[in-house]
Amino acid sequence: MSTFLQYLIYGLQLGSVYALLALGYTMVYGIVGMINFAHGDFLMIGALGTFFIAKLFTSFNIDGTYPMLIVAVIIIIAMLGTGAIGVGVEAIAYRPLRNKPRMIALITAVGVSMFLENFPRALPFIGPNPRSFPTLFKTVRYSFLGASITSTQIIMISLAVVVMVGLYLLVNKSKIGAQMRAVSMDKDAAALMGINVNRVISITFFIGGALAAVAGICYASVYPQVEVYMGSWLGTKSFIAAVLGGIGDIRGAMLGGFIMGISEIFATAVNSTFGYAVGFIILIVILLVKPAGIMGKLTKEKV
């Protein structure tokens, strides 16, 4: 029982990273109707950015950790920065292609992803070397029904849930949320109603980037190694999580992320070589049974 609980905690820990990233995929898909393959790299930018921002604040570093206030400042700067990069990527690479066939935007997204991975690698002060991530959260270990859980894990899991609830409320209850839903239904009609479509899409990318930064910080806090390629695999898996839950649906992204994380951990427990492939198997099975994903609604696409 305690082992089961322990694995569940590991699964939630991994799942919360997938979920936070999947939220970004799903938001962009839901509102703009494109798959932003560069989203995993926003996570890398968030984590690497945090690494450099934390370096700027080293004078506040006492005994290897930072005071809570400084940690909050670092995280907020990283979120704003990554969000801004998200907005920039959209404005430069995606906006000019918005009314072109979808395939063009998709290929551009792959290109942006390669650029975001390789450009920092070419910069001399970043480079390809993996770096060790600074300790932002002090790790306190709690025992819980025979399983151990750390403060970092609690922060990660609860942060993912809080963010999801917040996002759900934002989209469904706020004014900007109503605008987002309107743009997602029909861009042209929304524009006719006086909604600034560009602004709504920029905000969507900003939120996606900021969430990816949070995911990156969480991920790097538990697995303290950051490098320019860290986002590519995580991005792929989170994309699967988003499709699994029904791409375009916020609750679905969350559910998909946790399903991916937990199933990966439990599959590893059964057979460690099998764990990595399990996400793909689940994806195939679910798409066979329910092609729109768990929460997704099947819509006929007009060609």
Binding site: T3, G127, P128, T139, Y223, Q225, W233, S272
Partner: protein, 402 residues
């Protein structure tokens, strides 16, 4: 306006890609021109000797590549751009090639070095998987290769042109097993990457040696690929078996996280690693968990042998106080072996250099006296190192081939 912007961005991108793929090819002080001028002046034609150096200058193992380059640079400085062979000074040029720790890239740069650059010998690569992928190219072309850190047995089995400066995996696994047994551990657990030749090679050797000594492997867990960063499940399962020591024969991208996670899941037993743990990066990622971790190493900078002291001093002076690790030391030894072969070969041909490499006997190098055995593996010793609380490793004991 938009057109200009996209043009600028496209250029920016192109620059980025160029910067990634371009390989820093340093030219020795003596360039090719010297040779041509000599010929023109009627003096005996002295050809430039080219030595290829293949290592991961960028990519996931760029740290190893940095140490390797620095190690070879020590030889380069010792030589001062020329190599004295039987009274004649030949200009020498080291061509550094980036293989990004990938099999395909290694194959490409081997082809380039052998066919286009016409090198007389190649130093590197450092990884078994890269050497296994590219070795047959050199073998078929008849170009001698001295790998620096490719410890897998199969590497020199490719053919009689493939040598190495390091000891082989079985010996390393055997050293780790012997050390564990001698220290008094009767049971051991292993976590290894089943998609990596280095990790599986060490694991097999450790298991057979440890069992032969009378020990028991209580549990063994695997994971597939270096993309995996979460080992909590495997470590939890290993911890349940209460082993007296944990063997982590994995590469630098994974093993520090494993050390950290092993302590986090509550494993308190001693941790033993392979020689990949021989870099300061381990301590900075694993943090406090690194204290007490021991590993097998080819070389200790704390060694007091004359050749070792000389090498360490030259290295530190040349590289702003950076201390050499095994990667640097083995790169130095591999290059020295090639230089020795060049100086003693009857003719300056690839075949002749190969034949001379195979007869190296009691050559004095920083790690001790090296003899190249019949299977082209060097006969040399290993050391056991231990990390202290500050993340600095210290010499524990030396283990010799048996």
């Amino acid at each position: 306006m938009r057109k200009y912007l996209s043009l600028v961005l496209a250029l920016c991108m192109a620059f980025g890609m160029f910067a990634c793929t371009s390989t820093p090819a340093t030219t020795g002080p003596a360039a090719k021109d010297t040779a041509t001028t000599d010929t023109a002046a009627g003096a005996p034609a002295v050809e430039t000797l080219k030595i290829g150096v293949v290592c991961p200058i960028s990519g996931t193992s760029a740290i190893a590549g940095k140490y390797i380059t620095h190690g070879v640079e020590v030889v380069e400085q010792e030589l001062g751009g020329k190599i004295n062979i039987k009274g004649t000074d030949y200009p020498v040029q080291f061509i550094y090639m980036d293989n990004e720790a990938s099999e395909e890239k290694t194959t490409n740069v081997f082809q380039k070095l052998i066919e286009e650059e016409g090198v007389i010998a190649i130093v590197g690569p450092d990884m078994s998987k890269c050497a296994l992928a590219a070795g047959s190219i050199a073998q078929n072309a008849g170009c001698p290769v001295v790998c620096t850190f490719a410890t897998n047995t199969a590497v020199t089995e490719i053919g009689d042109y493939i040598f190495r400066a390091c000891f082989i995996d079985p010996f390393q696994g055997q050293v780790a097993a012997t050390y564990c047994w001698n220290t008094g551990y009767k049971t051991a657990a292993i976590l290894f990457n089943n998609a990596d030749a280095y990790a599986t090679g060490l694991t097999d050797a450790f298991i057979s040696s440890f069992k032969a000594l009378g020990g028991t492997i209580v549990a063994s867990e695997e994971y597939s690929g270096s993309d995996v960063k979460d080992y909590n499940v495997q470590l939890t399962k290993l911890a349940a078996n209460n082993p007296e020591c944990l063997f982590l024969p994995n590469l630098l991208g994974e093993m520090p996280l494993q050390i950290q996670q092993a302590r986090a899941v509550g494993m308190t037993c001693p941790i033993v690693c392979g020689d990949s743990a021989d870099t300061p990066e381990v301590a900075s990622v694993a943090g406090a968990a690194v204290e007490g971790v021991v590993y097998v190493s080819a070389f200790s900078a704390e060694s007091t042998a004359d050749a070792a002291v000389k090498f360490v001093q030259a290295y530190i002076a040349q590289h702003d106080g950076e201390s050499p690790n095994s990667n640097a030391e083995l790169a130095y030894e591999a290059t020295k072996m090639v230089v020795y072969a060049l100086q003693n070969a009857p003719e300056l041909t690839r075949t002749s250099v190969r034949d001379t490499l195979a007869t190296i006997s009691n050559l004095e190098l920083p790690s001790g006296l090296i003899t190249v055995g019949a299977d082209r593996n060097p006969i040399k010793g290993a050391v056991i190192m231990e990390y202290d609380a500050a993340g600095v490793s210290h010499f524990v004991t030396a283990v010799n081939p048996s």
